[in-house]
């Protein structure tokens, strides 16, 4: 091969590598663009005097009412933050035990055949679009639960929380199972060798060893639950009540954006307030994800030493 061609080839190679590198960096760019454009639409609340006549930062945290369309609009985020927390908590209370127990069962106790059935089954649950879960909760589950328990309010936080639980079970399950599977076989062999029963080995040795990963799974599920939109929009009733009662109807941050953005006056205080909620959501889920990821990586390093 002539030197000329070699040079050309080298140039081509570095061109391709450069292109691939640039494309790969797009992910970083996108994250920053998201942050930038959500910020851009929420910042007028802080800097634009015209918008500030309608709404300032203080409004978000004073009072307990979300009442943006009013002679005296109130933009307190407390009721919808509480709503998000309430629904998320209910979803996790339901989903975490189920998902973690299922993960423990499938990786510690289930036989090979069954194991191969469980995972795809859970993945099928993950494959149900959230709008379908919302539809199910709104049209079928809400009335069923109401009649079963004699609740006064049909669309309430528990109804939405349960449906949300269906959506996060697969997420928690798959990460928790990964964590439990990551625990080396030698741990189990040692426990069994010392006379522990399989149950003791699973709960006293394997689960504690995998605990950071399981917590990561729970956090991951929490991020999903906080950010889920369609289920809560359809199933929670959306009353912006500042109430801790799970049997009241409730409104989350995501549902607030989804429901109100369509008809809001563009460029109004209300419009920017909705983007600010988006910013809060972005920040919260970002933090939760970072924590979840750090925990999981921490577990891997602990079990296998520093990798990569």
């Amino acid at each position: 091969m002539s030197l000329q061609r070699k040079k050309f080839r080298y140039l081509g190679e570095s061109l391709i590598e450069g292109n691939i590198k640039a494309t790969a960096s797009l992910a970083i760019v996108v994250i920053f663009l998201i942050l930038f454009f959500i910020l851009r639409e929420s910042l007028p609340i802080f800097f634009n005097p015209e918008v500030q006549q309608e709404i300032t930062f203080r409004h978000f945290f004073s009072g307990i009412q979300w009442q943006p369309v009013s002679d005296n609009p109130r933009f307190s985020l407390w009721p919808i933050i509480l709503g998000s927390l309430k629904v998320t908590l209910i979803a996790l209370l339901f989903a975490v035990p189920v998902a973690v127990a299922a993960a423990l069962y499938s990786s510690e106790f289930a036989g090979g055949r069954l194991k191969e059935l469980i995972k795809p089954g859970v993945e099928l649950l993950a494959g149900i679009p959230s709008v379908v879960l919302g539809f199910f909760a709104l049209v079928v589950m809400a009335s069923f639960l109401k009649d079963l328990f004699g609740w006064q309010i049909r669309l309430n936080a528990i109804n939405a929380g349960l449906a949300l639980g269906f959506a996060v079970i697969p997420a928690i399950y798959s990460l928790a199972e990964d964590a439990i599977n990551a625990v080396p076989k030698s741990f189990r062999e040692a426990a069994l060798g010392l006379g522990a029963t399989p149950w003791q080995s699973a709960t006293k040795v394997v689960l504690p060893a995998a605990l950071p990963g399981v917590s990561a799974a729970v956090l991951f599920g929490m991020g999903r639950a906080v950010g889920e939109t369609m289920v809560v929009l359809m199933a929670a009733g959306n009353a912006p009540l500042f109430s801790f009662n799970p049997l009241e109807s409730t409104r989350t941050m995501t549902a607030t954006i989804a429901a109100e953005l369509g008809e809001v006056v563009f460029g109004s205080g209300h419009y920017h307030a909705l983007f600010f909620i988006g910013l809060v959501l972005f920040a919260v889920t970002f933090a939760i994800n970072l924590a979840s990821h750090a925990l999981f990586e921490g577990l891997m390093t602990r079990l296998y030493g520093a990798r990569k």
Partner: protein, 301 residues
């Protein structure tokens, strides 16, 4: 004593097993309800006719058409970018490098951004900034600076980017290191190795990612609510700058906006059934290809 302990243990194990049963039951109840409520409305006409009489009769063809249209654009956008990113991460990047860490972090966090935030971003970035800017510079109004298939699909593409990246990386990992070494030793350049040795073997794994992405994209509603999905259209979209109807959003609209809910619920159930059948079969295909890839991975090691 020993016997007693074993019984207690078995009960506890059974309890954890019941969690699996519970998941199966949830799946069965949801599926059952929708199949029982929806199968009656399924017919050839249902799939090929538009909805009529204010969504209380007729079919769902425009929603299926719009969904396919938007998913195609989404794939055109997301697959090259996702595959390139995965190739970079797995084949080129040095793990310790700051850029590599940043990309990995970004991909992980992108996966965790709530879908509605993508919707806000699509509105602020694609429609108002890019679209509005294009319109402004072209000296006309209302072509790009409004919700349409293009922007909705690109929003979906960004949202699903991590999924393609993760699937592709896993597929690349399944290709034995020895094959690369062999190609390089024979004088192939790095790109030639990737292009002619690594990628062909990773194709099935990449397909898993593509299939799962389609399945997820088909069901997402929140990101497209404000970026292009229309409530009802009497005609099919022809261009990427038209608005479109899509199955997921159509289900939402039917259950919340129809003028006669009793007449609509069976249709909505039918539409849900179609959507579920689609996402499930795609997921199944994905799962099958993946278990195949994974067994390859095990052999490779």
């Amino acid at each position: 004593m020993n016997n007693k302990r074993r019984i207690g243990d078995n009960i506890r194990i059974g309890l954890t097993g019941s969690a699996v049963l519970l998941i199966a039951a949830i799946l069965a109840v949801i599926l059952g309800t929708i199949i029982i409520g929806g199968y009656k409305s399924l017919s050839c006409e249902f799939l090929t006719k538009p909805s009529t009489d204010g969504m209380t009769a007729g079919g769902i063809f425009p929603a299926i058409f719009g969904m396919v249209f938007s998913l195609l654009i989404m794939l055109i956008a997301v697959v090259p970018v996702g595959v390139a990113t995965a190739i970079y991460l797995h084949e080129y990047a040095r793990p310790g490098l700051l850029l590599t860490k940043l990309i990995r972090g970004a991909v992980n966090n992108l996966a965790g951004v709530p879908s509605i935030v993508f919707g806000l971003f699509g509105l602020g970035f694609f429609i108002q900034f890019i679209g509005g800017g294009l319109d402004h510079s072209l000296g006309q109004s209302g072509l790009f600076g409004q919700p349409c298939i293009l922007w909705a699909s690109l929003t979906l593409a960004l949202m699903n980017l991590p999924m393609i990246i993760v699937a592709t990386e896993e597929a690349l990992r399944a290709v034995p290191q020895a094959e690369r070494a062999g190609a390089l030793a024979l004088g192939a350049t790095k790109w030639q190795t990737i292009r002619h040795v690594v990628l062909p073997q990773a194709v099935s794994g990449i397909m898993t990612g593509v299939v799962l992405t389609i399945s997820r994209g088909a069901g997402e509603v929140a990101p497209i609510m404000f970026t292009g999905a229309a409530y009802y259209l009497p005609y099919l979209p022809k261009l990427p700058t038209d608005q479109f109807m899509t199955l997921g959003y159509h289900i939402f609209v039917m259950t919340t906006q129809s003028p006669d809910i009793d007449a609509t619920v069976p249709i909505a159930m039918g539409a849900t059934l179609v959507l579920l059948a689609l996402t499930f079969s795609l997921n199944l295909v994905g799962i099958v290809i993946r278990s195949h890839t994974r067994s390859q991975l095990r052999k490779g090691r």
